[in-house]
C-alpha cells in the first residue's frame, strides 16, 4: 500500500488557487522531499495532508485513510514537526514527550527511547522554554517521533540549526527511512539531495517535476542540483 496517495488535490483562497490538482504517491518508508520557493504551495499542501486545512477539490489518503472523509483515522497514522518549534514551554523535555505519548496512546517507555534516539536524555528534567533554540527544535522533532507514525511530515526540520546539529539530525532522519514515509520540506537543497529518495518541485501551486536528484538534473539539463532547481522552480517554469 502507498503511504500517501494524492489525487487532484487543490486549494483555493478566494479566487486564488494556491495548490492546483496535485497528483502524487509516496511509498511506505520512502523519504520524499517537497521543494519550492516561498509561496509555491508547499505549506498549504502539508496542511491539507495533516488535516489542518480542508481541500477545495480532490483528496489524499494516508495509509488508505482519506483526509476528507476519514480524518480521525488519518490523524492516527500521521505526525508533524511544524516549521515553527512546537513545544509546551512550561513542561520539561520528558513531560513534553509524555504528553505526546499520552495523546497517541503510546506506552511511557517511548519517552526514554526517543530521548536516547535524539540525545535529549541529558535535558530530560529541563523545562522546554529554558532550552536553546537548537535543542527546542530537536525536542519538537522528538515529539513527532514518539507516536512512531507511519507518515511523518518534517517542515524545515533543520532551520536555524548549526552544521553539526544539522548533520546529527540528518542521521536521525536517515535512521527513519525504510520504516516511516517522510515528507520533508526544506530550503536547503543539499539537505534534500542528501536525504531524499525522490524530490518533488512545486511552483505556483503545481507539482512541476518529480524524480531522483539525478533524474531532475537530467530533466533540466543541468550539472548541479541547484541549477536544476532554479530551472524547474523559477518563474518561467511556473508560468
Amino acid at each position: 500500500m502507498n503511504a500517501i496517495q494524492i489525487t487532484g488535490l487543490s486549494r483555493d483562497y478566494g479566487k486564488r488557487r494556491v495548490v492546483d490538482r496535485l497528483e502524487l504517491t509516496v511509498g511506505s518508508g520512502e523519504l520524499f522531499a517537497l521543494l519550492g520557493v516561498n509561496g509555491a504551495g508547499k505549506s498549504t499542501t502539508i496542511k491539507m495532508l495533516c488535516c489542518l486545512t480542508a481541500p477545495t477539490e480532490g483528496d489524499a489518503a494516508l495509509m488508505g485513510h482519506s483526509v476528507r472523509t476519514d480524518s480521525h483515522r488519518a490523524k492516527e497514522v500521521l505526525a508533524v514537526s511544524p516549521q515553527e518549534t512546537a513545544v509546551a514551554p512550561g513542561l520539561t523535555v520528558a513531560e513534553n514527550l509524555a504528553l505526546m505519548a499520552g495523546v497517541y496512546g503510546r506506552p511511557r517507555t517511548r519517552v526514554s527511547e526517543v530521548m536516547e534516539q535524539l540525545g535529549l536524555a541529558q535535558w530530560a528534567r529541563q523545562r522546554a522554554k529554558t532550552l536553546s533554540g537548537g535543542w527546542q527544535r530537536r525536542l519538537s522533532i522528538a515529539m513527532a517521533l514518539v507516536s512512531q507514525p507511519e507518515v511523518l511530515f518534517l517542515d524545515e526540520p533543520t532551520l536555524g540549526l548549526d552544521v553539526l546539529a544539522r548533520r546529527e539530525l540528518w542521521g536521525v532522519i536517515r535512521g527513519l527511512k525504510g520504516r516511516t514515509a517522510i515528507i520533508l520540506t526544506t530550503h536547503y537543497l543539499e539537505e534534500a539531495e542528501a536525504l531524499a529518495d525522490r524530490i518533488g518541485i512545486m511552483a505556483a501551486g503545481k507539482l512541476r517535476a518529480v524524480g531522483t536528484p539525478e533524474e531532475l538534473k537530467a530533466l533540466a539539463g543541468c550539472l548541479t542540483f541547484e541549477d536544476a532547481f532554479v530551472a524547474l522552480a523559477g518563474e518561467e517554469a511556473a508560468s
Partner: protein, 243 residues
C-alpha cells in the same frame, strides 16, 4: 486518555505560572482583608462578611476566565496547537482538557477564600461547603467565557477582555460591593438577565441556608454556562480545520 494527558499538561502549565497563584488565591484574599478593614473603621454596615465573602469568592472565579483564555490563546499563537490539532484529539478533548484542571482550582480557591473569611470572623457553619458547591456553575461559566475568548482572540486581547473588562463587569454587575436595588432600573434588569449576580446571590443564599432561593440562581448560571460552553466548542471545532 488523550484528554487526560492534555489536562495533565494544562495543570502543570497553570500551576507553574506564578501569576495564576497570585490572581487565583492572593488577590481575592487581599480584597477580602481590605474590605474587612474598611468595615471595621466605619460605623455603618457596608461590607458584612456574610455578603462580602460569597461575593469575593465569586469575584475570584473571574480569574479562571483569564487563565483558561490565556492558555488557549497562547497555544493558538504557536505551532504547538497545530501539532495537537493534527493528532487524533477532538474538539471535546481539547476543551475538556483545558476545563478539568481549573475545576479543582476553583473549588480550592473558593474554600481558601471562605476559610480566610472565617478567620476574619465569619461564623463557621455547615453551609460553607454548600457555598463552595454553589459556586461550581459560576466556575464553569467563567471557564467557558475564557475558552470562548481564547478561541476568538489573541493573548493580549484575552488579557484585556478577561483580565480587565470581565473582572470589572463582574464586580459591578454581581452586586458584590453594593446592593443592585440601590441603582435599580435598567441597570438592575440587565444585571439580573446576566449570570453574574445570580452566581453571587446563589452563594449568599447557600451561606444563609436559604435553600428555596438557591435552585433558581444555579439554574440561571448553569444555563448561561452551558450555552457559552456549547458556543466555545462549536467555534473551536470550526477553527481546528481551515475551511
Amino acid at each position: 486518555m488523550r484528554m487526560l494527558a492534555f489536562a495533565r499538561r494544562n495543570t502543570k502549565e497553570l500551576l507553574r505560572d506564578p501569576l495564576t497563584l497570585f490572581f487565583g488565591l492572593g488577590f481575592p484574599l487581599v480584597l477580602l482583608v481590605l474590605m474587612n478593614v474598611i468595615q471595621r473603621n466605619v460605623p455603618v454596615q457596608i461590607f458584612a462578611l456574610e455578603t462580602l465573602a460569597p461575593g469575593i469568592a465569586l469575584f475570584g472565579l473571574t480569574f479562571l476566565a483569564l487563565f483558561s483564555g490565556l492558555l488557549l490563546a497562547r497555544d493558538r499563537s504557536t505551532a504547538f496547537l497545530s501539532r495537537l490539532a493534527a493528532s487524533p484529539m477532538t474538539a471535546a478533548d481539547f476543551l475538556l482538557g483545558y476545563l478539568l484542571p481549573l475545576l479543582p482550582m476553583a473549588v480550592g480557591q473558593s474554600a481558601v477564600c471562605l476559610a480566610a473569611a472565617v478567620a476574619l470572623g465569619l461564623p463557621l457553619s455547615w453551609n460553607l461547603p454548600a457555598v463552595v458547591l454553589s459556586l461550581i456553575p459560576s466556575a464553569l461559566l467563567f471557564i467557558a467565557l475564557g475558552l470562548l475568548c481564547g478561541t476568538l482572540f489573541n493573548d493580549k486581547q484575552v488579557g484585556g477582555m478577561c483580565g480587565a473588562i470581565l473582572t470589572n463587569a463582574t464586580a459591578w454587575l454581581a452586586g458584590i460591593w453594593f446592593d443592585l436595588s440601590l441603582v435599580g432600573g435598567a441597570f438592575q434588569k440587565i444585571a439580573y438577565a446576566l449570570p453574574f449576580v445570580h452566581g453571587a446571590d446563589g452563594a449568599k443564599a447557600a451561606l444563609a441556608g436559604d435553600w428555596a432561593a438557591l435552585p433558581g440562581h444555579l439554574l440561571w448560571v448553569s444555563a448561561w454556562a452551558a450555552a457559552l460552553m456549547a458556543l466555545a466548542v462549536w467555534l473551536f471545532r470550526r477553527k481546528m480545520v481551515e475551511r
